[in-house]
């Protein structure tokens, strides 16, 4: 702030000299407000006077500004600049603040603002911000943009032919867009243009495809989409009903081949009661969902999609004690075997849901997506049991 004032003073000084030259020529030509009435002008005197006047004025301004800068100096926490430097500077607004600077100020000044809100910056930024502000770092669950429509040009019908500019926001103005389904993606690529990270491309079927490697979950696409087809959801929840249609089943079916017709099969089949049909639309409760993918295999319209490209199948190790639990619990009847003997899994039937892995009493089933977390929980439980046992022995 202060050197700004210094430069203002310097500028004033320079301008004074420039003016001395300029006004001299003006005086010779006989123009310029106050001097033209006089017949002859004492050039030296006027120049001196001008110089004194401007220098005085410049000095007053300079001193005044310097004084104002001192008196009204704003004490800024030096940590704000440090935080600001470590942010991603995408100015995407994913943190909920107007810009990176505003977030930096908020995170330093206010104790309730979490240090991990900068999603484009990722883990490194969150760690740096937490270190500077001294706040506890909790890893933000990685999120991603999900597209809630599968009805591309070839699989859905249109009410009329739209010939306006290629933009969803413009298309929506024409009585809600040309798609028969008013909840679906219009496919004119507004999200694709809104993405600051080049993470969205439009498929041949005019649907946005999110690149999970590039998506930072900043939410610009969700904001831009006039149909609100894009949502920002946790990356780990990979089974979703990719439809927003609240039309009655028959109407949805008429409009689109892959819409949710609210048949309720997912609701019945879900072992964790995560899928709930409401307002003619099934929605998976992400807190309950364990990503088993059972609903994906049962959905009659393929409205539920599994984002995991290829699920690994379960297999039973020699730890199996033949308790038969997996046979009774499997939703697709893939395990088989005699009691008290090692069971086997029919790989063709297995959908890799991991329900058996989670329920096996001896952790004998491996290979499913949830095996690492089940194993962790199993070992923690074992350790806790051992500890209790040791304590009991000590007390004895």
């Amino acid at each position: 702030m202060f050197d700004c004032e210094m430069s203002a003073k310097k500028t004033t000084l320079l301008v004074t000299f420039a003016l001395l030259l300029l006004s001299a020529s003006e005086l010779y030509a006989g123009v310029g407000g106050g001097v033209e009435a006089k017949e002859s002008v004492d050039l030296i005197a006027v120049l001196k006077f001008t110089a004194v006047f401007l220098a005085g004025l410049g000095a007053i301004f300079g001193i005044g500004l310097a004084f104002a800068a001192k008196k009204f100096a704003v004490q800024e926490d030096p940590r704000i600049d440090q935080v600001s430097e470590s942010l991603a500077h995408a100015h995407c607004g994913a943190c909920g603040f107007a810009g990176c600077r505003q977030y930096a100020e908020a995170v330093v000044m206010k104790p309730e603002v979490a240090p991990n809100l900068c999603t484009p910056g990722g883990k490194a930024t969150a760690e740096a911000v937490a270190k500077i502000t001294g706040k506890e770092m909790t890893q933000l669950e990685p999120k991603i943009a999900r597209v809630f429509c599968q009805g591309g040009r070839s699989r859905s019908s249109r009410r009329f032919k739209y010939e306006g500019i290629e933009d969803c926001k413009a298309a929506v103005l024409a009585s809600g867009g040309d798609k028969s389904c008013i909840y679906g993606c219009l496919g004119y690529g507004t999200c694709f243009r809104a993405c600051p990270f080049d993470a969205i491309r439009m498929s041949d079927d005019a649907l946005p495809v999110i690149d999970p490697a590039k998506c930072t979950a900043c939410g610009m696409c969700a904001l831009a989409c006039p149909k609100k087809v894009i949502e920002i959801l946790p990356m780990s929840k990979e089974v979703l009903v990719r439809c927003h249609s609240k039309d009655k089943g028959a109407a949805t079916k008429k409009n689109c081949q892959v819409g949710c017709i609210s048949c309720g099969i997912c609701e019945k089949v879900c072992p964790y009661n995560a899928a709930v049909v409401e307002n003619n639309l099934s929605r998976i409760n992400l807190d309950k969902c364990r990503v088993c993918g059972l609903c994906v295999t049962k959905c009659p319209t393929n409205a539920i999609l599994d984002y995991i490209p290829k699920r690994s199948k379960a297999f039973i190790t020699e730890k199996c004690i033949g308790c038969h639990k997996c046979v009774t619990i499997c939703p697709v009847n893939s395990p088989s075997g005699e009691r008290k003997k090692r069971h086997a899994i029919n790989e063709e039937k297995c959908i890799g849901c991991g329900i058996c892995t989670a329920n096996c009493p001896v952790l004998a089933i491996q290979g499913t997506i949830n095996y690492p977390e089940v194993k962790e929980a199993f070992e923690a439980k074992k350790a806790a049991a051992a500890k209790v046992k040791a304590e009991a022995q000590v007390s004895n």
Partner: protein
């Protein structure tokens, strides 16, 4: 105090001699910040406030310093200095006293410092020999005129974003055409009041 005269001054400055549409001054800011309504409104408020206060300040300096000292020929440089110093101090003080206002309007202040309309208003005041109140009224009228121009242009340009414009006219060219058409419409105000 003749209120009729002041009212006439304000109307004349805002509509008949609108700085943007009839005098074609301040076009840089006019096209720069008229893309969005929000920025246009922020700019308009800041602009009008700075205009009124700087015309008052320059009037005082001109009347009580420069005329007695016969230094009227220095008015351009002095007015630039006054406006720059005022805007800079306003920036500093606002940051301390009202940070929320600073974050809303502060970004426009830097743009205003070297704006030609802001300079033109004190110069015209000095040239026409307006009184203190008249100078401020003229500043206010000019500010309202600029605000009007910005708001009209911003609302049109927000719609233009969605319009099907031929490729060579997209962006600034169509804005210039629109500004020209509005200017043409503003000539309708001429003769409304004869000062």
């Amino acid at each position: 105090m003749d209120f009729g005269k002041l009212f006439q001054l304000i109307i004349a400055a805002s509509l008949i001699n609108n700085f943007v549409f009839t005098r074609f001054l301040g076009l840089c800011i006019f096209f720069g910040v008229s893309k969005k309504m929000e920025t246009a409104v922020g700019m308009s408020i800041t602009f009008t406030a700075v205009m009124v206060i700087s015309s008052a300040l320059s009037w005082v300096v001109f009347k009580y310093l420069m005329i007695p000292l016969q230094l009227e020929f220095l008015k351009i440089i002095v007015f630039i200095g006054i406006i720059a110093a005022f805007v800079q101090s306003a920036d500093t003080i606002m940051k301390k006293i009202s940070p929320s206002l600073y974050y809303k309007l502060g970004i426009y202040l830097a743009l205003i410092t070297t704006n030609c309309i802001i300079l033109a208003v004190p110069l015209i005041n000095a040239g026409e020999g307006y009184s203190f109140i008249e100078s401020m009224a003229f500043g206010l009228g000019s500010g309202i005129g600029f605000a009007l121009a910005l708001v009209i242009m911003a609302s049109i340009r927000e719609k233009l974003e969605l319009a099907d414009i031929p490729a060579p006219f997209r962006g600034l060219p169509i804005s210039f055409i629109v500004a020209g058409l509005i200017a043409l419409a503003f000539t309708g105000f001429s003769g409304l009041i004869t000062l």
